[in-house]
Symmetry: C2
Subunit: 404 residues, 2 copies
C-alpha cells in the first residue's frame, strides 16, 4: 500500500564503494539479509544514530568505531540486536572481529548495523558463517541487491542516485534506505546508507550529514516511536576528480544541497512506505517564532491519531488539526492570528472557520493521495515542514500481527 | 466495547443541587442533549478547564464567570462550539443571558459547557427554545438522566456516588463524567460534574479539585489529543451538617481523599469506554527522580501506537515498551538500572530481557483484560501512574467514520 511513485531508480555506482549481499537465514531464507559495504582506503565516513537511550548494541559499537577510519559496514536485517544486554554487545563486537579477519583490517574499522525484532539474541553463528559469501560478492554495481537485503516490513526497495556537476567535475551521490515507519522498534527501524565519490574530510562530511539529516530523516514520522536502531551513514570515497571540498565555499554549498536532496528523497520514500499508509501528508508550519516551534507544531499534528484517521477517511475534519495546534505547547499562542490551508484551500482564518470555506472544496483536496497542510502561525519568520502518512486499519493489522 | 465493570451506580442526590434535562435536537432527536444544573444560593463552585490554546467559546466564558458566584451550569452535547470565532462567543454568552432571564440571576452566574463536533455553529435557537423545559425538570434526584444527556460517542453513562462520614457527619459526593477518549476534539471531549453537600469556600474547593484532577483526569489518555472543551466542575452546596471545611485540617484531608476517589473513579470509567478499547492498562513508573519524569515516561508508553497495538493483539512485545522508555526524553537515563514488570512477571532487568522471563508467562498476563505495567527507573523515590487503553481496528473505524 505504498503512496505514489516508488520505482527503483537507475543506480550509478560510486567508485571506491563496493557492496556484497548474502542470505544468512536470520528470519527467513528466501532472500539476502546480510549486506557488507567496503570503502576504499582513504575514504571518509560520517554517521548519525538514534537518540533512543535504549540504543541497540550495534549502535553503541558503531558510534565508538566511527572515529577510527571505518573501512567496512556490516548490516543485517531480521534481528535488531537491541535489548540483548551484554551478550548483544559481545555479538556485535564479534561480528566486527570476523569481518576484520576476513578483510585484514582492524576490528575497530568495521561498523555494525542491525534491524529487526528487539529482544532476541542475534544469530551470530549464521552471520559469521555467511560473511565470506558476502565478501566474495563485493562489487561496485550492487546497490539494488543491497537495498533489498536491508528491508524488513518495507514493501519496496528505496534508492536514490544522481550524478551532478560541481565546479565542472562530475560527482556521484547514490544511497539506499529502509523503514516502513520512521520508527518501529520491533522491526522496521530506519537505516540509510549514502555514498559519494567526492573528496571531503571526515569532520566536514559529518557536519554536512548532520545538517542534511536534520532537515530530512529528522522531519518524517509514521507513528512517533523513535527506534533503538536508527542510523544514517554517508561515505565519501574521494574517487571523483573534484578537489577536496572545503567548508564555507560555494562548492561545499552545492555538495550540501546535493546530499540534502538525497536524504530528503530517501526519507520521503520511507513515508510513502509507511505501515498501512494510503496518503503522503506534508505539514508546513510558517511564520513561527523559531524553527523548534515550527517543528513542534508540525509534529503534534503529524502524531495526532485523530488527524491521521481523518486523513485515512478522506474527511476534511479540520477541527482535529486546530485542536492539535492548540495542544502543541506553544507559549502564548494567539489563535486569532492563525490560518490553516488544506492544499490551496483556506480552511481556517483568524482562528475560526474561513468565511470562504466550503466542505466541497475541502473534500476535493482530501480525496488526493498527496496532501499539503499549511499552518500560518503569525508569530515570526521561521518555517519548517514534516512529512507523515495516515493511520489506517492496516497500521493496526500490521502491528498487531507482527510477531504472529 | 467497554472494559470491565461499567454498571451505573445508585446515585445519592446532593441536597442543594438540582438537575434538569431536555432534548434540543442538536445532533439527534432521540434523547436529551441539554442539561441544566442549579446550585442553591450560597453554594461554592470550583472548575478546571482544558489547556488547549484553541479552547472553545463556552470554556472562555465559563472561565470568566467562575469567580462570579455561579448558580447554574448549562451543558449541551452534539456541538462543541469550538473553532467558531466571534459568533461562537456571542452564542455562548447568549445562552447564559437566556438562563439568567429564566432563573432571575445575573448572566455572569451561569457557566456554559459544550461537547461535540468542532467548527460548526451552535444551534443556539434550538437551545434557547428548549431551556424552559430543562428548567421545569429541575429536581435533585436526576443524575442518571444527566449522565445520559452529556454523552456523545460514549457507550455507557458514567457515574459515581458515595455517602461518607467525616467528623461524624454524613457527606455526599456524587458525580458524572463523559468521554470515550480523554480527548477527542471532534466529538467526545471529556466533561465531569461532581457535587457534594459539604461546606467549603470557593478558594479551598478549587485547591481541592485541582489536586484531585491532577492525579485522576490528568493521568488518563486514550490518544493523546487534548481537547478544546475539557472541563471538570466541583460544586459544594453546604447542605450537610458538617461545619465548613478549613485548609490544613484532618477534615480537609478526608474530604480531599473523597474527592480524589470520585475523580479517579470517573476518570477510569472514561478509559474503560476508550474508543475501540478492549483493555484497561495501568502504567506505573516507580523510582523516578521527579513526579514529572514519572508521568513523562508513563505517557510516552501510553501514547505509543506500537505499544497500544501490541496490547490489542495480546502480544507481550516488551521491546516496544523498552523503546518507548528510551525515547521519553529522560536526561542521562541509565538503561542498565531499569526493570519492567508485566503484572507480576519481570520482563526486563538491568535493561535487558530478564533471565527468568518466559514468553508463556508474559502471554498469560497479556491475555487479561486489565493489565498493569510497572517500570522501575532506579533514579529516585517518585512514583506516578497513568491509565490508558489499547489501540484497535475499532479506534480507526470510529474515528474514520465519525462524520459520515
Amino acid at each position: 500500500m505504498a503512496v505514489g511513485n516508488i520505482e527503483f531508480p537507475l543506480m550509478h555506482a560510486v567508485s571506491g564503494v563496493k557492496l556484497g549481499t548474502a542470505c544468512a537465514g536470520i528470519k527467513q531464507t528466501e532472500r539476502d539479509d546480510l549486506l557488507l559495504i567496503e570503502m576504499a582506503e582513504g575514504a571518509t565516513c560520517a554517521a548519525v544514530f538514534t537518540q533512543n537511550a535504549f540504543c541497540a548494541a550495534p549502535v553503541t559499537v558503531a558510534k565508538d568505531h566511527l572515529s577510527k577510519q571505518p573501512r567496512y559496514l556490516l548490516i543485517n536485517s531480521g534481528n535488531a540486536n537491541a535489548g540483548t544486554g551484554e551478550q548483544g554487545m559481545a555479538d556485535a563486537e564479534l561480528s566486527c572481529v570476523e569481518v576484520a579477519q576476513l578483510a585484514q583490517v582492524g576490528a575497530e574499522q568495521v561498523l555494525p548495523f542491525s534491524t529487526g525484532v528487539i529482544g532476541e539474541a542475534l544469530p551470530i553463528i549464521k552471520i559469521v558463517d555467511t560473511l565470506p559469501k558476502a565478501q566474495e560478492n563485493l562489487v561496485e554495481d550492487n546497490w539494488l541487491k543491497a537495498a533489498h537485503a536491508i528491508m524488513t516490513t518495507d514493501t519496496f526497495a528505496k534508492g536514490y542516485s544522481k550524478v551532478i556537476e560541481i565546479d565542472g567535475c562530475a560527482v556521484t551521490i547514490t544511497g539506499i534506505s529502509k523503514g516502513a515507519g520512521m520508527i518501529q522498534p520491533n522491526m522496521a527501524t530506519m537505516l540509510g546508507f549514502i555514498a559519494t565519490d567526492a573528496t571531503i574530510s571526515q569532520q566536514n562530511l559529518q557536519q554536512c550529514l548532520s545538517v542534511a539529516v536534520e532537515q530530512s530523516f529528522n522531519r518524517i514520522t509514521v507513528d512517533g516511536d523513535t527506534s533503538t536502531n536508527d542510523a544514517c551513514v554517508l561515505m565519501a570515497s574521494g574517487a571523483s576528480s573534484l578537489p577536496e571540498i572545503m567548508p564555507g565555499t560555494d562548492t561545499m554549498g552545492a555538495f550540501q544541497l546535493a546530499v540534502q536532496e538525497a536524504c530528503m528523497f530517501l526519507a520521503e520514500a520511507i513515508i510513502r512506505d509507511g505501515e498501512g499508509a494510503t496518503k503522503l501528508i506534508k505539514i508546513k508550519v510558517q511564520q513561527a517564532s523559531s524553527d523548534a516551534e515550527a517543528v513542534e507544531v508540525a509534529k503534534t499534528i503529524a502524531h495526532s491519531p485523530l488527524v491521521k484517521t481523518a486523513f485515512f477517511a478522506n474527511d476534511p475534519n479540520w477541527g482535529r488539526i486546530l485542536a492539535a495546534i492548540g495542544r502543541s505547547g506553544v507559549d502564548q499562542l494567539d489563535v486569532k492570528k492563525i490560518s490553516i490551508y488544506l492544499g490551496e484551500v483556506c480552511i481556517v482564518e483568524k482562528g475560526g472557520r474561513a468565511s470562504s470555506y466550503t466542505e466541497a472544496a475541502g473534500q476535493k483536496i482530501m480525496d488526493q493521495q498527496e496532501i499539503t497542510v499549511t499552518v500560518v502561525l503569525g508569530r515570526g519568520e521561521q518555517e519548517q515542514q514534516v512529512l507523515t502518512c495516515d493511520f489506517s486499519y492496516d497500521y493496526v493489522r500490521i502491528n498487531a500481527e507482527y510477531r504472529t
